[in-house]
Symmetry: C2
Subunit: 100 residues, 2 copies
């Protein structure tokens, strides 16, 4: 098990006020790419749309509920996608989704 327990869970989803937590779901995608050198191509920005498309097969995503950040530090590129989804829609869609 490579996950780091509660510390990591709190790290990905910082605690939020209780009032905002009702019937909301959150999804976070983090993509990190450590390249062999600074000159290696960075494909994360191109990957971004495709990943959102895939996730969209499982849950309903409204454009105004997505936040995307792209960062870089040395040889590492980091893409972070935050999506707020509505629980009810998510459930309905999941019931019928049968990925090939």
């Amino acid at each position: 098990m490579r996950l780091h327990g509660m510390r990591f869970f709190n790290f990905v989803f910082p605690p939020r006020p209780k009032s905002a937590a009702i019937a909301k779901e959150r999804l976070k995608i983090v993509l990190a790419h450590e390249r062999a050198g600074n000159h290696a191509p960075d494909f994360l920005p191109r990957l971004q749309k495709e990943l959102i498309d895939v996730v969209g097969r499982y849950v309903d995503i409204r454009d105004d509920m997505i936040r995307v950040s792209l960062g870089k530090s040395g040889e590492t590129s980091l893409l972070e996608i935050n999506i707020e989804i509505e629980a009810a829609k998510a459930k309905a869609k999941l019931g019928s989704a049968v990925p090939a």
Copy 2:
């Protein structure tokens, strides 16, 4: 900017011995899903294969270079995919990849 600087980069990719770093690239995908309740369906395991397929369009992935961890803590599910890719192959493939 929602990323947290060097601390976060070190967190996603723990430092490794210099000798192992030569001409290797690493890709990490972290998916975190905070559900509205414990009874909400968990679709991360089903999403896993599709995400790897998408990434496979950008880089060559050998099955023995993938490590997948799935964790759960309360209402949050966490999927972590670690992929080692070979720099040369990655570049070759990137040159011809034109996502629609």
